[in-house]
Amino acid sequence: MRLLLLFAFLAALGPALSEYGLKLLSEALILGLYAMAFNLQFHQAGLLSFGQAAFFGVGAYTMALLVSRAGWPFLPTLPVALLASGLAAAAIGFLSLRLTRIYFTMLTLAFAQLLYAVVHKWYAFTGGDNGITDLRPQGAFGESLPFYYLSLAAFALGVSFLALLQRSPFGYALRGLRDNRARAEAVGIGGFSHLLLAFVLSGLLSGLAGALQGALQRSVFPEYLFWTRSAEAILATILGGSGVFLGPAVGAAAFLFLRVWVQAQTEYWPFFLGVILLLTVLFFPSGLAGVGERVARRLWRVRRGAPQG
């Protein structure tokens, strides 16, 4: 219900926004979807992947190659991008999920960097570091407002799907595996298969975000697969708070607006990002949404006259 209100509010906001505002909010929605997809693994399954950018990039490149090389219209490329990034996630997940903890993290990083290197060097197919440019979607989605609604629709679908997933037996199984894998497996939950499915779903939604981002920027570059992109998903998630359902999306929006604002003042954006991240980790590990939730809960209790805890 709360989610529906949020989507309705965002939809109503559309016509009131300037061209620039639409672009910015579209990007926030896309980045939000990407971070939410990452958090499916991170929070629910307890897997820290440092290779999320691989699926973001595979989605973006699938869209870009189909549009520029095969002459497809933009919209039908999205399901293909979804499928391609899901397949990539199945392959990488199948190999990476045999390992746990820091080894899993490093292996996902290695595979993502491998893909990055291939995309970066394969000039004949991917255009190498020149990327693929001039990707203006044909027709209505070349305009800012329809594209905003498309991003919103993708965000809403993705987030609703994740919300359902969280409350499903599958979601509970994932959290069980996260908290105590041995015990969860002992009651009959297939550890590997559940984690692999989570990895694939997370990769697939990341790929959708990547394809949309490529269309928004009208170009894709190997940087889409670079590890700093993976770090972006992690940053947004931690900044917003991984323990609250919409936390990563809140973090993604905050991250984006902060970047735009700081970059307007100074070129030293990474420095400020670093300081913010440092303070978040040291003092607000539950993130912006976590702090917000706590404040709201306290206000709520005060209003009802309950004792403060």
């Binding site: 820091i102 080894y103 700093t228 992690i234």
Partner: protein, 293 residues
């Protein structure tokens, strides 16, 4: 392509491996003893290079003093960083440690950019190594040999330290059972600060030692830390010899891979790491994780 050429490639690879070892061994020890995944390790490597430049004002004559100063500065910086930032997060999950040190990486990169600018900072070969040596008629910088000697010395001293001194025994014990060490009355927080400071000093030394061969840039921190992780993961977390083996493998694969498939040099290290992780997840010289009860 004659034999001299291949020998030269070999020496080049080993020289590169030497700086990589100095970088990676600290990362490995810090993880082994403290369980901290230090994503900022490469930043201290970068800092070492810039500090050498600053201490000597870019003059080759000041090389030896500069190197000593860099190691000392690395020690101090490492101790301060551990006290201020690392200590509060020992008991937090790995993800938060990675994120905190990633924040340090971002901050240090911009601080260096602010202090030194984004331009390349290069350093001449120190006067001691001004004249080249010859290998079967092929000239190569005598500085390469110094790097190999430096890394070999550090490896040997570290090994002696870990095997023969009481402090070394404690460091090794910390990798196995911290609570027991504490119960025996060892000042574990002080031990941690020392391990971190030592690891950072080695990274800074490695960065400084690389400077005469390769100009310093603010972006080198990220490359360095990823390389260091690959080395450590290949060799085995927490193992000095593993770091050495990993560094040598990486040096050789870079030096000879570029002859076979020049366009794929970026891929080799990651392919090697993926292969090792799949076959021996605990690394070539690491120990398989003990089964916890």
């Amino acid at each position: 392509m004659d034999l001299g050429f291949y020998l030269l490639q070999l020496v080049t690879g080993l020289a590169y491996a030497s700086t990589l070892f100095l970088l990676a061994v600290g990362l490995s020890l810090i993880f082994g003893a403290m369980g901290i995944v230090n994503f900022a390790h490469g930043s201290f490597y970068m800092l070492g290079a810039y500090l050498l430049y600053a201490f000597t004002r870019g003059q080759g004559e000041g090389f030896w003093w500069g190197l000593l100063l860099v190691a000392a500065a690395g020690m101090v910086i490492g101790a301060v960083v551990e006290r201020l930032f690392i200590r509060p997060i020992y008991r937090r999950p790995e993800e938060y440690q990675i994120l905190l040190t990633y924040a340090l990486l971002l901050i240090l990169e911009d601080l260096v950019r602010f202090a030194f600018g984004a331009a390349y900072r290069s350093f001449p070969l120190p006067p001691t190594f001004a004249s080249p040596l010859f290998l079967l008629g092929t000239p190569f910088p005598s500085y390469y040999l110094f790097l190999v000697g430096l890394a070999a010395t550090v490896a040997l001293l570290l090994w002696l330290f870990l095997q023969r001194t009481r402090l070394g025994v404690w460091v090794r014990a910390a990798t196995q059972d911290r609570e027991m060490l504490e119960a025996l009355g060892v000042n574990v927080p002080l031990l941690y600060t020392s391990v971190f400071a030592g690891g950072i000093a080695l990274a800074a030394l490695g960065g400084a030692a690389l400077l005469p061969l390769q100009a310093a840039t603010p972006g080198m921190a990220v490359d360095a830390v990823i390389q260091a992780f690959i080395v450590v993961v290949i060799g085995g977390l927490g193992s000095v010899w593993g770091a050495l083996l990993g560094a040598v493998l990486m040096g050789l694969i870079q030096a000879f891979g570029i002859l076979v498939l020049p366009e794929m040099t970026m891929v080799f290290p990651f392919a090697l790491m993926a292969m090792v992780l799949l076959l021996r997840p605990w690394g070539l010289l690491g120990r398989p994780p003990a089964v916890r009860t």
